[in-house]
Symmetry: C2
Subunit: 223 residues, 2 copies
């Protein structure tokens, strides 16, 4: 049988996501943590995926996705992000609450379904979180993260990282609810003192000094 179970799919996706940040092979323990399961279970599953040639694996050396494994995982990400877009744009869900439902929907197998959904949504390039949606061939625009001062006036972005990761700075951010994933819209830049007026999560206005802005990385959203 050349079919993948829901569980196998979830493992593939977890590995895919762990690959995104590093080119190193992925450790058993890292997968166990991501999947909320034991290292022993992960080893079992890795062997199975390896036999199916979905991952490259040598004992004690971690795993990498094969090309088939990678394209399978990419198609899961495509489905996940298209369904999220559907939930937000058509069913009026807020973009914090869609993840869990999309985790389910992404396992619906029909290729025709997902391509029709893609068309129905107008072939969006990015999902409501600002993450790129792979097209039917698995290609997607990599959107590099930029620092907040590079974000144009009027543009929106998602907070995805910080330069300065010392406690005082992180505490400062927390005070203003500037947590990872927060949506930031640049309202205006003031040349006088280089400060920037933003709106946080479409709700609250806030002024940030240039020093703070330089330490924030965002991904732009263009829906």
């Amino acid at each position: 049988m050349n079919t993948t179970s829901r569980t196998e799919e979830n493992y593939l996706k977890a590995i895919f996501q762990l690959c995104e940040r590093s080119d190193e092979p992925i450790a058993t323990n890292a997968i166990a943590q991501a999947m909320q399961t034991s290292a022993a279970s992960v080893t079992d599953m890795i062997k199975k995926l390896s036999k199916k040639e979905l991952v490259h694996y040598q004992k004690h050396k971690g795993v990498r996705l094969t090309d088939t494994g990678n394209s399978l995982a990419t198609s899961l990400v495509r489905k996940h992000r298209l369904w999220e877009t559907f939930l937000v744009k058509k069913l009026n869900f807020s973009w914090e609450e869609v993840h869990e439902i999309a985790e389910e929907l992404e396992h619906i197998p029909s290729k025709k379904l997902i391509n029709r959904l893609d068309d129905f949504l107008g072939n969006p390039k990015f999902d409501p979180h600002g993450d790129p949606i792979p097209d039917a061939d698995g290609n997607f625009t990599f959107r590099k993260q930029i620092s907040l001062p590079e974000l144009a006036e009027g543009a929106e972005g998602i907070l995805v990282g910080v330069q300065d990761d010392t406690m005082p700075f992180l505490q400062y951010l927390n005070k203003f609810n500037l947590t990872l994933g927060t949506k930031i819209k640049v309202i205006e830049r003031f040349a006088y003192d280089d400060s920037t007026k933003i709106i946080i999560n479409d709700e609250r206005e806030q002024i940030l000094t240039n020093k703070v802005c330089l330490n924030l990385f965002v991904k732009t959203i263009s829906i």
Copy 2:
């Protein structure tokens, strides 16, 4: 745990559907046939569902759904039919090809999702096959089948049965592609000879004699 697995859900739905046509308790074998599995597996599952109080069961006496079992099955039917409607009305699937996909989608658990989908579709009362869609409380209009002459001019129906089931008649119907599930729209009735002009599947016009019409049962569609 008060949660039902995908497999349990499929059994409940099968039992529900077998209940629809008869008030008798459902036989193990009937379920086995519907589920394409062995009678032994059915007995195992029945015991499990009985322990969960989703079915009433006595050995060798067949099963019935309990109230909870029934409302669970009803909510599956609701989901199935709403997703089918979505696929046909929004994603332009033809209504023969949606069943299989809806079999998957009906297991997505979120109540909020299905209610939003219902609203998005304009709270339809019937699915593309003409079957009634239960509302959020599990109530649905029972639509009795009528013979074709009872269907008003301009109205549409789905062919669901025949009175005369002799070979010559069935062959006659086949020649005109009047198979079960065919969509029939009444264009005009001619008093002169009691014949009826219909459109078959939105495609082909056809004239039927009264004798033929009297032998056809349809369910009306009101979308």
